[in-house]
Amino acid sequence: MGDAAHAELLDHEIYQKPFKVQPDFEFWDTPDNYRERHLGDDKLPDKMKVWRVQNRGKTSGSVVARSYGFTDSPDAEVLALGFNHGKEYGAVGVGRHGNFLQWGYSAAPSKMTDAGKKLFINCVCYIKRFDGKAPLVRTTSSHRLDALRLAALINRIKNKDFFSATFSSDLMEKYAADPNALVQYYRSDFELIYRDQVYCIDSELKALGINSNRTVDALQRLIGLLQDQTHADTARGLLTRYTNESFASAEQWRQWLTANRDRIFFSDVGGYKFFVAPKGYLSPDSP
């Protein structure tokens, strides 16, 4: 990453207080890497609205975090999109995970712009509110969007070992000459992707008519199926796959769901599991 941030997210409170951040905007050419890594069907514009956070005059030296899965848990948020020449559009120049705020820019204050200085001060003030709020999840896996991103590369990266923890050998063989078809394979069942050593499509969920593995409704369906003798074993196995719980009875599962429903979230990055945020963590007053 270089010196700039994208103009998105400026309505976040971190741009408002204690200092009002008022950047000077510029329009810069869209980097080629954005197009190469773009997973959407839409076309990126030729130029993008950015603002300078610092003035080092270099296109590298600072750092962005990947955007995939960054916000799949309520303990993390993107605060500035970093204009970068190495990763995807949307990569995180300034972000928070739990009590940590990562400022990806590298310059000391004397080389920050006025807007950059104000944002930095605001960041210091903002993170104070998360004192004592350690992250709820840790990065133990990669997001399902990575399956699409990497599928597009299977014939461009010659070292097949690179994909040994990504795609099954059967899929690699089947789609070796047609990466777009592999992308489509995962895209078609995007909501059912999970990881079991490699990226998989959850055929068991699909067979049950459940079209996503990351909604609380899916969790409720599985708990309900525990009382269906035909599907109880499958449902129990899926609950083990997608939670860290091991209740013995359907009633215990129901009680758990009822007690925590409003605080349950699913994280790919956290290991393709449902987690429960502690009481008070998600309330507006906390932090």
Binding site: Q16, K17, P18, F19, K20, G61, S62, V63, A65, R66, G69, F70, S73, A76, V92, G95, R96, H97, G98, N99, F100, L101, Q102, W103, G104, Y105, S106, A107, A108, P109, S110, K117, I121, C123, V124, C125, I127, K128, R129, F130, D131, G132, K133, A134, P135, R138, T139, T140, V269
Partner: protein, 159 residues
């Protein structure tokens, strides 16, 4: 610097001294910097905190300063550390420094926010030994900061 009292010692003429004091108060004491918005601001006050050890504490007039105690853990005796600490001291009530390379979690006690800063760019920068139980509000900086985050399996990590 606003709030830095310019008068020292005593004059032979008390009246003249008092006049000078009044003039300086109006000239410097009431001069305002750009005013931050919203909460989190320490109310303006005429009192001045006692100055601790000068090489480690950047604490000047409390007026208009944000009421946060900052620990800046950087590389001592570098232009970058000086740059940061002077900048932070302009805005925060209390700024102390520590050595990034020797940073320990218990040093964060008594501070509101810790800033961990090496050089912004170093891929081979040392990484402070921080446990997953550490929960002090912390800002990590640049490439070294991203590697700290990676070592803690945070989403803000390098890859």
């Amino acid at each position: 610097m606003p709030g830095k009292h310019p008068l020292k010692g005593k004059s032979a003429c008390t009246v003249l001294t008092l006049c000078c004091v009044l003039v300086m108060i109006f000239a410097f004491g009431c001069k305002k910097k750009e005013q931050p918005q919203g909460s989190g601001q320490r109310p303006s006050t005429e009192t001045t905190k006692p100055a601790p050890a000068p090489e480690q504490v950047y604490q000047v007039d409390t007026a208009e300063k944000i009421n946060l105690r900052i620990l800046y853990a950087g590389v001592p005796d570098t232009e970058r550390a000086k740059d940061f600490t002077e900048f932070l001291a302009k805005h925060f009530l209390e700024v102390k420094t520590a050595d990034y390379k020797a940073f320990k979690e218990d040093q964060a006690g008594g501070f509101d926010v810790v800033i961990l800063d090496y050089d912004g760019v170093g891929f081979s920068a040392p990484r402070p030994n921080i446990s997953r139980q550490y929960s002090r509000a912390t800002v990590t900086m640049g490439v070294p900061g991203a590697f700290i985050c990676s070592s803690l399996a945070l989403k803000t990590g390098y890859l």
